[in-house]
């Protein structure tokens, strides 16, 4: 654990900030299966719901080689390049 001192005027909480939400459901939605059992079942259901309720949305599916390790850089970059949003199925 490293402790550093805040160099700012401290008006904002120090956290990893969440990306601003657009409030719209559009563009390309990536569904990431982390390779845990039954993650695919959850994502299949989600994909069919999205296709029904937001027909303009394009759904793309991705899969991590193993849930036990961080997402490989190439896959992370691919999702960043191809998707507007990503939903990750943590399963369990």
């Amino acid at each position: 654990m490293t402790t550093i001192l805040d160099p700012t005027d401290e008006r904002k909480p120090v956290e990893r900030q969440i990306t601003p939400r657009s409030g719209k459901l559009d563009g390309v939605i990536g569904l990431l299966d982390i390779s845990k059992p039954r993650g695919n079942v959850f994502l299949d259901e989600l994909e069919s719901l999205l296709t029904q309720k937001a027909p303009d949305v394009i759904v793309k599916r991705y899969m991590k080689p193993t849930f036990a390790k961080p997402c490989p850089d190439a896959l992370r970059q691919q999702m960043r390049d191809e998707c507007s949003f990503v939903i990750e199925a943590l399963a369990d």
Partner: protein, 529 residues
């Protein structure tokens, strides 16, 4: 340590907690495993524990981490060995060296205290403990022990340990919010993600580094030096120190950074406008006076960049204060169309020793022995002025003038806009070869060689900037024949000397909007206490 009650709360090597004061007297000795004198004292302490342990707490306070157990085994110690690897007890008790002995009464007040191994001290202590406890004196073969052996420095006085302890201690001057960066997070990446950076890597501002940085000034860490736009964040000495650490400054640079922040945040300098303008202005910082040498600033070869830590990091620290304390982020309030590499840093020292003129700070009303920082708001530069063949003073002065034609646009003249001319030593030598050539004369010469008729400024097919044709028609041929110089007055021409002895290349910085609508150069004396 004063007469205040001494307290202690540490675990021994078996994990058992020990606290002081207890309800009985105690004998405490601070030790390090690798200290020869501590190893000399250890059997004596064990004997004291054996003799008086029933009446008083005899405790070792050891600073050596895993080697504490090695020390205990080596001497077959049966007394509690308390783990003070973090050195908090040594810091609070303010010892200097080990072994450091304290005999405390039941309230924790000091009966006796000494350091090192002076045999007579230890013999007297042994005898007095026997008297006080009414127990037989410990059996120690004093003749086998050295008469005198100095101790070793306590581990907590190692600068890296001490600064950390000081930063964390009660009464620490640190007030800034502490950010815990998780072990799985890379500190450098975390700082980028938080938006603390100008785009280059930062030195993590740990409490101990900030403490060390604060050592560079006599000023109170909580003194508010300025409010920094656009957020009007309060730039305390501490916040400036944090940003100076991140920029890579040494503590001795801090007074320069503080003066620069003061100068930048004046109404005259108007750092808000300088930062926000789409034209892309940046502070250009010049340092004068004795501090240049003291902190190793560059005034000579490559003074304008790069390779000198002081020049590079002082300029950068100002920039980081504006970004982090003021909240001026690129794309936020910072709206420059192209940006400007000077926005990373632009700071140099004047080569006063190679200048035939009063130094910039003297010209601006300070004493020669003052150390002073001067800020100019500049949009372009350094733009080189190349003349390797002029041999007469009026020629080189003329070239320096013609080299300033490009400010804003060569066609535009009579500009109420600052320019900062940096004359190199070889050009100085040419200027002076026939005798003194004053700055005033150089300024006049610059105006003289840049004189052009107003008719040259009329908008035409080649260039739509300048006087509109209808205005020109109104003015008439006589008015248009009037010749005007590049600058609206000689006061807009600022001149300093910098650079190395070889090379006939001077340089110029081009200004932004000068005056109360834009920025006015500001000088601040550097407070060196």
């Amino acid at each position: 340590m004063g007469s205040a009650e001494l307290k202690l709360s540490l675990d021994d090597l078996t994990g058992k907690a020990h606290r002081l004061p207890q309800e009985r007297p105690s004998l405490i000795c601070f030790v390090k495993e690798d200290c020869e004198t501590c190893n000399t004292a250890a059997p004596v302490l064990e004997a004291l524990h054996g003799a008086y342990g029933s009446e008083m707490a005899v405790l070792l306070v050891a600073q050596s981490g895993e080697a504490n157990a090695v020390f205990a085994d080596r001497h077959g110690l049966t007394m509690p060995v308390l783990d003070d690897t973090a050195c908090t007890a040594a810091f609070e008790w303010d010892i200097e060296s080990v072994p450091s002995v304290f005999w405390l009464d039941a309230e924790g007040k000091i009966e006796r205290q000494f350091e090192g191994f002076v045999r007579t001290d230890w013999e007297t202590l042994t005898a007095d403990l026997a008297t006080a406890s009414a127990l037989p004196a410990a059996q120690i073969d004093w003749s086998s022990l050295p008469a005198w052996r100095p101790g070793c420095g306590s581990k907590h006085l190692d600068p890296s340990v001490f600064d950390k302890l000081q930063a964390e201690a009660e009464g620490s001057p640190i007030r800034a919010r502490r950010i815990e960066v998780a072990p799985s997070d890379d500190v450098a990446e975390f700082m980028f993600d938080q938006g603390f950076s100008d785009g280059l890597p930062l030195v993590p501002p740990t409490p101990e580094r900030v403490m060390r940085m604060l050592g560079g000034t006599h000023r109170d860490p909580q003194e508010v030096v300025a409010t920094v736009p656009p957020n009007m964040g309060e730039a305390t000495i501490e916040k400036i120190a944090i940003n100076a650490v991140m920029a890579g400054c040494k503590p001795e640079y801090l007074p320069v950074v503080i003066a620069a922040v003061e100068a930048a945040c004046t109404d005259e300098f108007n750092i808000h406008g300088v930062t926000a303008t789409t034209m892309g202005a940046a502070p250009v910082m010049i340092v004068n006076g004795p501090i240049r040498e003291r902190i190793g600033m560059n005034k000579g070869l490559a003074a304008l960049g790069s390779g000198n830590r002081a020049n590079a990091t002082i300029g950068r620290a100002l920039r980081l204060v504006v970004r982090n304390v003021g909240g001026a982020t690129t794309g936020g309030v910072e709206r420059s169309v192209l940006g400007n590499p000077m926005k990373y840093t632009m700071c140099f020292a004047e080569n006063e020793e190679r200048s035939p003129w009063p130094a910039l700070h003297v010209e601006r009303g300070f004493a020669a022995e003052d150390s002073v920082v001067t800020l100019f708001a500049m949009t372009g530069g350094p733009v080189h002025i190349v003349d390797q063949t002029s041999r007469a003073p009026e020629q080189i002065a003329g070239s320096l003038g013609l080299g300033l034609e490009g400010v804003f646009l060569p066609k535009l003249r009579n500009l109420p806009v600052d320019a900062l001319l940096v004359v190199c030593p070889e050009h100085i030598d040419t200027l002076m070869r026939e005798g003194p050539y004053s700055k005033e004369r150089l300024r006049d010469r610059i105006q003289e060689v840049t004189m052009r008729p107003l008719s040259d400024m009329v908008q035409n097919e080649d260039c739509g900037a300048g006087i509109p044709p209808e205005k020109a028609a109104e003015m008439g041929p006589e008015a248009l024949a009037q010749r005007v110089p590049k600058f609206a007055g000689t006061e807009y021409i600022h001149i300093v000397v910098a650079g190395s002895d070889a090379g006939k290349f001077s340089s110029a910085f081009h200004g932004w909007a000068t005056g109360s609508v834009g920025s006015i150069a500001v000088s601040k004396k550097i407070d060196l206490g």
